[in-house]
Symmetry: C2
Subunit: 203 residues, 2 copies
């Protein structure tokens, strides 16, 4: 069988599982959990529905697997923010990394947004266990930078929220952005956000 209890996954298993997960990311991010159907996922993956269920116990397990994988990717840019670096550079780089993620991983951003929007029914434990400690740690670092006079004094928590909000906006509200803008927003957004956080954080 294809349960995780056995040892080595075969090459076919590796290929099909990632085929399924990629298709599911498409479908879940486009239609939400309830809006997505196993048939859609199966078709997008090029496999039959029962075959999907040979590799995953059910729809929810696929969703949870995606969410788990996502969490690591999602936190990575914040993890990289280094207490020993130059504060302004570290923060502005963080903003750019998050903005790049919105451009490069819009499906992941929307999957995450959809999950939080509905009250994070399958991700609250992750938020508490993984995100919260990291958030507190990095807020403390930012606060320390401010106390040293390297940055202007602002509320670090809302600073981080604003970075998340402004950068993810370009993935999550892409439809709206594209309706209102003619050209690709990435470069002009990068310049704007750099300018905004530079002026806010200049000591």
């Amino acid at each position: 069988m294809a349960d995780g209890t056995s040892k080595k996954p075969s090459r076919i298993q590796m290929r099909n599982r990632s085929l399924i997960l990629d298709a599911a990311l498409d479908v879940f991010s486009a239609h939400g959990y309830r809006g997505a159907t196993l048939d859609q996922i199966a078709e997008a993956a090029g496999l039959s529905k029962p075959n999907i269920l040979y590799y995953f116990a059910g729809k929810e397990e696929i969703h949870v697997t995606l969410l788990n994988q996502l969490m690591e990717t999602w936190l990575d840019p914040l993890v990289e923010m280094d207490a020993s670096g130059d504060p302004m550079t570290e923060l502005l780089d963080y903003v750019q990394r998050k903005l790049d993620m919105s451009r490069d991983l819009p499906r992941e951003s929307r999957l995450f947004a959809g999950e939080i929007l509905q009250g994070a029914p399958r991700m609250l434990p992750h938020l508490r266990a993984d995100l919260k400690p990291l958030f507190d740690e990095k807020c403390a670092i930012i606060q320390a930078w401010m106390n040293e006079g390297k940055l202007a004094q602002v509320d670090p928590r809302h600073l981080v929220f604003s970075i998340w909000a402004t950068t993810q906006h370009y993935a999550d509200f892409d439809t709206q952005v594209r309706t209102l803008l003619d050209d690709d927003p990435h470069d002009s957004a990068a310049r704007f956000l750099d300018q905004m956080y530079r002026s806010l954080l200049a000591p």
Copy 2:
């Protein structure tokens, strides 16, 4: 019948239609369009399912009605931004009005976010017809203010995006915000955003 073609809606019609719409706003904003069921809406409204369908032609019509009503409310704070007022005051007041809306109308915010997140299948026409002209008009006003030297030069379009993103974040990502913060974020968010846009826009 209860179709819109006849004349005066009775008092019962008024009451039940708003009962249904309020219940539907609860359910749609909490679970998304596909995630919401007529049974849930019916129960939340205290009416039977066929009775719901006596007042609305179907699930989609309820959703569209909500979206249409929402659009006006949603654009109102931006409409109020006045070209003849003091630029900095007008913009900072706009930020506060949007932030207040996130606190006072979180269901509406989430309904809107969910619709855009899924590609605005039922709202693209509205975005083009209502939002786009208003957006262009207000961006032109902001640009004029900057040209007069009343505000620092930034990209007005991304400025508006950032206001939307940062303020709606507190409604749409409420679950995440509440997981990371202990106290109510509204007042501290208001101070942070005031500080951020003041420093960004100071000429």
